[in-house]
Symmetry: C2
Subunit: 219 residues, 2 copies
DNA sequence: AACCTCTACATTGTCGACACAATACATCTT
DNA sequence: AAGATGTATTGTGTCGACAATGTAGAGGTT
């Protein structure tokens, strides 16, 4: 696993991580108001710490804030999901293109080994792959782009929102095996250093994923 | 003109706008350290206000911060510029695609009228177009995408960084007229509702712009 | 002279209190 | 009774002070 291990130094960071977790996982419900005074009591820190945490949640687009009124957790909607996946398609497509250009041969080998491991897991225990496996694959591509902006925007920002939709819509799809094949093909394009194809396949992959998630939302 | 008119309500917002301006325009030099104590004296506000402003500057990727150490203005580099334009290419390409899908007929007409005005200005007073005209065109496309994430990330985030590079590298290029023609063609593709072409033309447009800016950087 | 240690300083992180704006409720008017 | 007005309360915005951390310099040791 190469998931980023975020270490909280200050108490504002700890609170930020905790709040983000609670929002993504629905402990704090979507659309709820975030009262600074209440949170400072609940998490046993001062309001200054809460304010800093909320500031950082804002830059992840997980909460919205109006001056003199307060902060609210974003509301989930079909329209919001569509917009989110349009940005994902664009950015991760570029990430795949850049990964095909910039990943080292060793990193590409590691990526393919990862998929081999997943292959085994898909056969016996499908439940694993659909969350962690997918996340891990996409993380590696993004890191492989070697583009700091892409890495920041996607990993520190959008992915948490994506996970929020997934968790709160109760994702558990039949897309496990087909998604795995798509991953395989993307990795192959990257190994062949075919930027054009890598980008195109990644964009399609995300489009399919979007349709899959939308079909459950509109039910 | 349809540039966003940002109104500062709180003093933290005012300070944020002022700081952002000073950083983008080089009054506060790239790479400089932002001392909270010093800034709170200079802008005549408390440290809490400065901290909030710096927080927001962080989410624009204009400053970087380390816990217990402090915040620094980002440093400009050829590599950073390249990364920035790769993200721009990706996001604005998608914006153009979505604009072709979502802009109203009226908005498209306005866009073309805007280009007609620019056409006149390009012929007599080239200096105008290269900054404001270009900015205005791109803003309209992004707004036309009707995608909140795109709008936020680009207009509130990346564009300020782009402007920072432009200002501090002293942009003044011979690309004025050719860029104008590219704008015309993009608008045409949007008017024809040709998403594919609109995205492709926008991506090329930004690639050319990147090469143009890079050629001056490496001198 | 180079290296390590300890102390003093400067800066950031955190806190509680006050100032101000927005909302909710009660009272008054028509 | 419905609406408007004024007041009370809640919550956010701002501030100055204290605590904790990092940094630089003096002094000592090898």
């Amino acid at each position: 696993m190469t998931l980023p291990i975020e270490v909280a130094i200050t108490s504002a960071e700890k609170t930020f991580f905790q709040l983000r977790k609670d929002i993504v996982e629905g402990v704090i419900v979507a659309g709820a108001k975030l009262s600074e005074t209440e949170l400072s009591g609940r998490y046993a820190v001062s309001r200054a710490v809460i304010r800093e945490a909320i500031s950082r949640l804002m830059s992840c687009h997980l909460v919205e804030r109006k001056a003199n009124i307060g902060a609210k957790v974003v509301t989930l909607s079909a329209a919001g999901l569509k917009e989110l996946y349009q940005v994902r398609e664009s950015l991760e497509g570029m990430a795949a293109r850049l990964a095909a250009r910039n990943m080292s041969d060793g990193e590409i080998q590691d990526l393919q080994h990862l998929l081999d491991e997943h292959s085994a897991q898909v056969k016996e225990d499908q439940s694993y792959y659909q969350e962690a496996g997918d996340v891990d694959f996409h993380y590696r591509i993004v890191q492989g782009s070697k583009n700091t902006h892409l890495i920041n925007v996607l990993i520190d920002g959008l992915y948490h929102l994506v996970r929020m939709y997934r968790v709160q819509l109760g994702m558990a799809g039949p897309r496990v095996t087909t998604a795995f094949i798509e991953h395989k093909n993307i990795a192959l394009a990257i190994a062949n250093r075919d930027e054009e194809l890598a980008e195109m396949l990644m964009r399609r992959h995300i489009l399919y994923s979007q349709r899959n998630i939308e079909s459950k939302l509109t039910v």
